[in-house]
Amino acid sequence: MTDAAAYVMLEDGARFDGVGCAADGIAVGEIVFTTSMSGYQEAVTDPSYAGQLLVFTYPQIGNYGVRDDAMESDRIHARAAIMRAAVDRDDSPGAQQGWLSWMKAHRVPAITEVDTRALVRHIRSQGAMRGGLFPGQMSERQARTLIEAEPPMTGRDLVPGVTSEERTVFEGGPGTRIAILDTGVKRSIVSELRSRGVTVELHPSTAGAHQLLENNPDAVLLANGPGDPGALGYIVEVVRQLIGRVPVYGICLGHQLLCQAVGLETYKLAFGHHGANHPVKDLDTGTIEITSQNHGFAVLGPDGSPTIEGDEAIRWETEYGAAELTHINLYDRTVEGLTLCEVPAATVQYHPEAGPGPHDALHLFDRFVEGARAA
């Protein structure tokens, strides 16, 4: 560990000092925070965090080390970890390596002993913004220039950096086959499907409809992923060709893509939803699930409003027939789910696959798979 002075600086000039740990170096990007109290390894390996520096509001990070089966992808996507009290212990049962050594091995810088609560309260009041992690000896002027050089998150397409090079197939069993448009899919999604006997095809994000449908899958799943969904018009086009021809399901970014395909717009949240404790209400059944969340953008309702006041599913006409907004977030009443009523298609903004987070919504994978089989 470097153990040298380091600091976090935001584009508005706010500075938070700490101690550098893991790899040396500089990281610049959008600074976001997660309130999840466990699952640090799953978080930083989640491709949706590409281009972001991740602040952990929970102070004790690294407690149980890292292990291969907690990887959500093959590498660390977060640009840095910002923490209050990181440890590098590998003596916990099941731990294969210490958290900080592991990040160092992946050449990802991190900082600890930062007053993360002050930082988070600042972001909460001022909104998510660009910033960076810098060595103590670097001047604030230099730091600022680097931050200015970083393009803002809005309008950014980060998918090419995280999608898989070519098509890969994961055997799950005979029968059901689901094609995933890999915009940065988490491993948990793939394994949830496979554990239900589904064979999974991963397609590069540039795949067209014909490629996706080549082996006539029973359904297409639009995955999670990083960046601004508004910058992915080329994928929305593909989705529009899929709807009606095959059941389409989506998670997180995938939800935002399907929503755009049926004419809804996306917008940037002030500081996003990143955590494992958000209550989401299913407007059909009335049940509430505690969900895993990780998104900086969200979908506007058909009337263009960011929140949904009533407790009735909002229904309106699209070019694919009637559509319904089926789920809302009870924290801020933003849109959390969409269903098309006349063609098989359904999406959620949150993460039923957990990894990390509660399992309340795992049953959605049963729905997806049944839907796929039914079609």
Binding site: R15, D69, R121, N277
Partner: protein, 1071 residues
């Protein structure tokens, strides 16, 4: 689902006296529940025998019955009040068991009372260990292999099933009472026997041992719509084998990976659904294998618990409050989160800090008791600390314990490591010492099975810098890790590196982003009483809560500082700002500083209106803890409100208080103060024997003993762990004298600009003679056997002392009447243990009045009643924990040992006394056999008691000497053998169950005095054992009264005329 309108009136049962395993946390939960239900517009009927609770304040419920928590009394209440529903889940195990009993007796059916929250089936499924095990297995969850036994032989037979060692768990007991670890055939006999005796249904569970596994608890909430959330996870640092109540715990859990934690979460949800708790909170305990992550379910409590109180304080999520709303029909989504106000309660709190809970023990008070920690709870209180990191929280928790004496460590490392391996009260102090002496994490892990993560943290704590990096700043507890704005000011201090805000003006700006919000008005700080311990318990929390309420009513901000998670005072609703901090000078001064400066304004600069007006600090309501800090605070320039530091010192320093009494011409027992052992031995002679010895500045008569000779004294000075430099007090012990306790209000001497007035709130006559600590003896209000002129003297002397000291607020004076003469034993210039009892007996909230005096009002401003008589006699009885400390002598003395108290109210003394005995759980027999053995001095009195009991057709047996004395009076009595005289001797009689009542006055003192075995046997068999003649006489009169039929019940509101008298139904009979 909205609020239920089909119910109007709800019955709530409290948890009764504070006992080990069931303490102040149920006052916190119960008070919240009552408040919420009243807010919701329901009538609330409360039954609780514990007067020292906020819950039993008349304004908290519609009708408050301070009655024994027994089917008879509660049935009478039900018949008078006719509630529509009974909420059984907020009064601990006591309320749960009693509700279950009322159902089984058909009472609930007969009066159509619906159980809400948890129904009978759910309670039975969770509480009956056999049914619980089956329910879990049916739900596909793993529980330890186990077998049920109803006899020692059944247990023997079961051993090959569960193997050795195994755990014994009696069904339906509190805090693991009667449980234990059996490692050998020999222990099997003893522990299983004890378990069967203690279990109300004479059933024990033998269970596969998972000693050394990690122990975790999850607090679960479920609503009527079957939505379930986990409020908090708690990890026990002590592995399985040490009761959670005795374990040092941390929240949230630290060592489980997300995957392992989610597995526990899934199981906890499965458990609450399988048991079928319809709505409310439950506590689920798990053991997790350290190497395989394998999980077994240990138990679930279908009610709020110690842990749910801890979880509420740890997260800011008020479980009891929400459970009460859920019970009347609301869903989690319909209930707003108090703290954010913007978001609903249907969520799981996210913490951005760590919480450490530390148990407080009292082994030093029970010499001879087994010292170890096991599956059966022994701690008497707890402290909680919040820090931004585990290390900060752990270090704070160490400070919060307020130990009377520093632990003494073994000389050799081997011996030290030995004891580190054995769970005990000072285990972690030893562990840290071992680390200081170079013990490695691996060695310590091998000895203790404590997870390496914690051991590593301890090692770093010891090696790291003493001063923490950064500056002290205050952070808020907000349930959401700052994701939303917090409205509820609940703070803890933390050391942080100050951010630099550059040009920005941010809401949390300023050099250190303290979150303490600025106050527009004047502020008074109230110091709480810290962790509950014997001698300083819930009574003081009651006073602090009243003080906070009064400060707010006066138009000021009330700021509370305390570190006890069980209490009402640490409910963030009670004060305008709650600082959850240790009660040390340094920590308190830091809060004063924060309150002086105020928070930085939103634009980041400390402007004028960010500045607070801190008027001062109130130290007289939290017992000895705040009093000890008074001088230091004063020296640091913090104004002390109320009785001055000078007056406190005058009362507490004997070399100053003695002369004060002389000046006033009042008598005190001859006394002397010695600085050394030798000096003590010299001085003893001039004071004269018998002597009462004790170290100075202690509460609850710590280490206080009566010695009859120089030899005794020398022996005491040998044994007592006297702190060098601290003086030793010697008092002439006034034998056979009546003790009196007085609580009074004073508004300061006129000379010092005060009102010069004193109001005597209550004069209590103790049932036991002086020599039994005031906290342990029963007392009566009004005094039942004192002449008017003696009372006049008591009043006059109390008033004179109050004015001479210059008390502003409360004063407690203790007297002893020896012959015809009145002696002053001590004066405490603060709220005393009896304040809540007196307030409820006379219907005047004296702590609130005292606080108004502290804030500058005069007694003349109040219109106080001339007489407080209301035609009722109130008896306070102490509740003792001897059954928890196998090996300790069940004997009363000048050192306080009781953990709690109950109150009996009736029209006459015997009936009130009978109620108090029933409430205290020592059920006086209505007939049967009484065994009497007393000292020669007591024999005359014994014959009187014997003849009364004979008239009540008791069979009387006695040891030879006592029998002769009784026979002389012509009372039939059988002589039985003393221990020495061969079987069948008295202990055989008791153990055979042939004795229903024991009257035994002790000869001599010390743990192994004669009669010890008799008392031990009685305690083990739960037979009432009376150790003073005064107590014996009162008991005989009480039995006579009780035989005249069930005493009537009355609500406080009726007694104090705040509520029209209920029409009296014919007294309920249980059929």
């Amino acid at each position: 689902m909205p609020r239920r309108d089909d119910i109007r009136k709800i019955l709530l049962i409290g948890s009764g006296p504070i006992v080990i395993g069931q303490a102040a946390e149920f006052d916190y939960s119960g008070t919240q529940a009552c408040r919420v239900l009243m807010e919701e517009g329901y009538e609330v009927v409360l039954v609780n025998s514990n007067p020292a609770t906020i819950m039993t304040d008349p304004e908290v419920a519609t009708a408050t019955y301070i009655e024994p928590l027994q089917p008879q009394a509660v049935t009478q209440v039900i018949e008078r009040e006719r509630p529509d529903a009974l909420l059984p889940t907020l009064g601990g195990q006591t309320a749960l068991n009693l509700s279950k009993e009322l159902h089984e007796l058909g009472v609930l059916r007969r009066y159509q009372v619906e159980l809400i929250g948890a129904d009978y089936e759910a309670i039975a499924r969770a509480e009956d260990r056999e049914r619980f095990r089956d329910t879990m297995t049916a739900a596909g969850l793993r529980v330890p292999r186990s077998a049920i036994a109803h006899s020692v032989d059944e247990a023997r037979a079961a051993v090959e099933q569960v193997g050795l060692p195994f755990i014994v768990r009696p069904a339906f007991t509190l805090g693991g009472s009667g449980g234990g670890v059996v490692t050998s055939e020999r222990e099997l006999e003893r522990l299983v026997g004890r378990g069967l005796a203690i279990s109300p249904i004479h059933q024990v569970l033998l269970e596969e041992s998972v000693l050394g596994w990690g122990e975790f608890e999850l607090e679960v909430m479920r609503d009527g719509g079957d939505n379930v959330v986990i409020v908090c996870s708690i990890e026990n640092i002590d592995p399985m084998g040490v009761h959670t109540g005795d374990s040092v715990c941390v929240a949230p859990q630290q060592t489980l990976s997300d995957r392992a934690y989610q597995e526990l979460r899934d199981q906890a949800i499965a458990v609450i659904r399988a048991v079928g708790v319809q709505t409310g909170g439950s506590n689920v305990q798990f053991a997790v294998s350290p190497d395989t992550d394998e999980v077994v379910v240990i138990e679930m409590n279908p009610r709020v618990s110690r842990s749910s109180a801890l979880a509420s304080k740890a997260t800011g999520f008020p479980i009891a409050k929400i459970a009460a709303r859920l019970a009347v029909g609301y869903t989690l989504e319909e209930i707003p989160n108090d703290i954010t106000r913007a978001t609903p309660a249907s969520f799981e709190p996210a913490l951005d800090y760590c919480v450490v809970k530390w148990p407080r023990f009292a082994f030093e008070k029970f010499p001879g008791a087994e010292p170890g920690l096991t599956t059966h709870m022994k701690s008497v209180g707890e402290a909680m600390a919040i820090g931004r990191t585990f290390k900060q929280a752990f270090a704070k928790a160490l400070r919060s314990r307020e130990l009377d004496a520093r632990p003494r460590f073994e000389e050799s490392l081997e011996a030290l490591m030995e004891s580190v391996g054995r769970p005990g009260a000072e285990r972690f102090d030893r562990l840290l010492e071992a680390i200081r002496r170079g013990a490695s994490v691996d060695e310590l892990h091998a000895r203790t099975d404590i997870h390496r993560w914690f051991l590593n943290e301890f090692a770093e704590l010891e090696s790291g810098p003493r001063r923490l990096a950064g500056e002290r700043t205050f952070k808020a507890v907000d349930t959401c890790a700052a994701e939303f704005e917090a409205r509820t000011p609940y703070f803890y201090s933390s050391w942080e590196r100050p951010p630099r805000m550059g040009q920005v003006r941010s809401r949390n700006g300023g050099p250190t982003p303290s979150e303490a919000a600025p106050a527009a008005r004047g502020t008074a700080i109230i110091l709480g009483s810290g962790p509950n311990r014997i001698g300083q318990g819930i009574e003081f929390d009651y006073c602090c809560v009243h003080a906070a309420q009064t400060v707010r009513e006066s138009g000021r901000d009330a700021v509370m500082i305390n570190c006890n998670p069980e209490t009402v005072s640490t409910d963030y609703d009670i004060s305008d700002r709650l600082y959850f901090e240790p009660l040390t000078l340094e920590d308190v001064l830091a809060v004063c500083e924060a309150e002086r400066l105020g928070a930085f304004e939103h634009n980041g600069s400390a402007g004028a209106n960010g500045r607070r007006r801190l008027e001062g600090i109130v130290v007289q309501f939290g017992g000895q803890t705040p009093l000890k800090l008074a001088a230091g605070l004063h020296a640091a320039g913090v104004p002390i409100l109320g009785t001055s530091v000078e007056a406190i010192d005058l009362a507490e320093d004997r070399s100053r208080f003695g002369p004060l009494l002389d000046r006033l011409g009042f008598k005190a027992p001859p006394y002397s103060t010695a600085q050394s052992v030798d000096e003590a031995l010299e001085r003893a002679a001039d004071v004269g024997f018998p002597l009462l010895v004790r170290p100075s500045y202690v509460l609850g008569g710590r280490a206080m003993e009566i010695v009859y000779s120089l030899a005794d004294l020398a022996d005491y000075l040998e044994r007592a762990e006297l702190e060098p430099g601290r003086p030793i007090y010697l008092d002439r012990f006034l034998e056979d004298s009546i003790e009196i306790d007085v609580d009074a209000l004073c508004d300061g001497s006129a000379a010092a600009g005060g009102g010069g007035e004193v109001w005597i709130a209550g004069i209590m006559q103790h049932v036991e003679e002086a020599g039994i600590h005031s906290g342990d003896s029963a007392c009566v209000l009004p005094p039942h056997a004192l002449g008017e002129e003696m009372l006049a003297q008591v009043r006059a002397q109390t008033a004179a002392i109050a004015l001479e000291l210059g008390v502003v607020g409360l004063l407690n004076v203790q007297f002893a009447i020896h012959g015809e003469t009145l002696y002053v034993i001590e004066a405490n210039p603060r709220a005393s243990r009896t304040v809540p009892f007196v307030s409820k007996a006379i219907g005047v909230p004296i702590a609130k009045l005292a606080c108004r005096l502290v804030l500058g009002e005069r007694i003349a401003d109040f219109d106080l009643p001339q007489s407080t008589a209301n035609g009722h006699v109130c008896v306070k009885e102490a509740v003792l924990p001897f059954d928890r400390f196998a090996g300790a002598d069940a004997l009363l003395g000048p050192e306080m040992r009781s953990t709690g108290e109950v109150m009996g109210i009736a029209a006459d003394f015997p009936t009130a006394f009978a109620k108090s005995q029933a409430a205290a759980g020592s059920n006086l027999p209505m007939g049967g056999t009484v065994f009497i053995t007393v000292t020669d001095g007591d024999k005359p009195a014994a014959t009187g008691v014997a003849s009364m009991l004979h008239d009540l057709s008791f069979r009387i047996v006695a040891t030879r000497g006592t029998a002769q004395a009784i026979r002389k009076m012509g009372i039939p009595v059988e002589t039985i053998n003393k221990l020495g005289e061969g079987s069948p001797h008295v202990v055989d009689w008791i153990e055979r169950g042939d004795v229903d009542l024991v009257i035994n006055t002790p000869v001599g003192t010390g743990a192994r005095a004669e009669g010890y075995e008799i008392r031990a046997a009685a305690v083990a068999r739960r037979i009432p054992c009376i150790t003073t003649m005064a107590g014996g006489m009162a008991a005989a009169r009480a039995i006579a009264a009780a035989r005249r039929g069930a005493p009537e019940v009355r609500s406080l509101q009726e007694i104090h005329g705040e509520r029209p008298r209920q029409a009296e139904p014919m007294t309920a009979k249980i059929t």
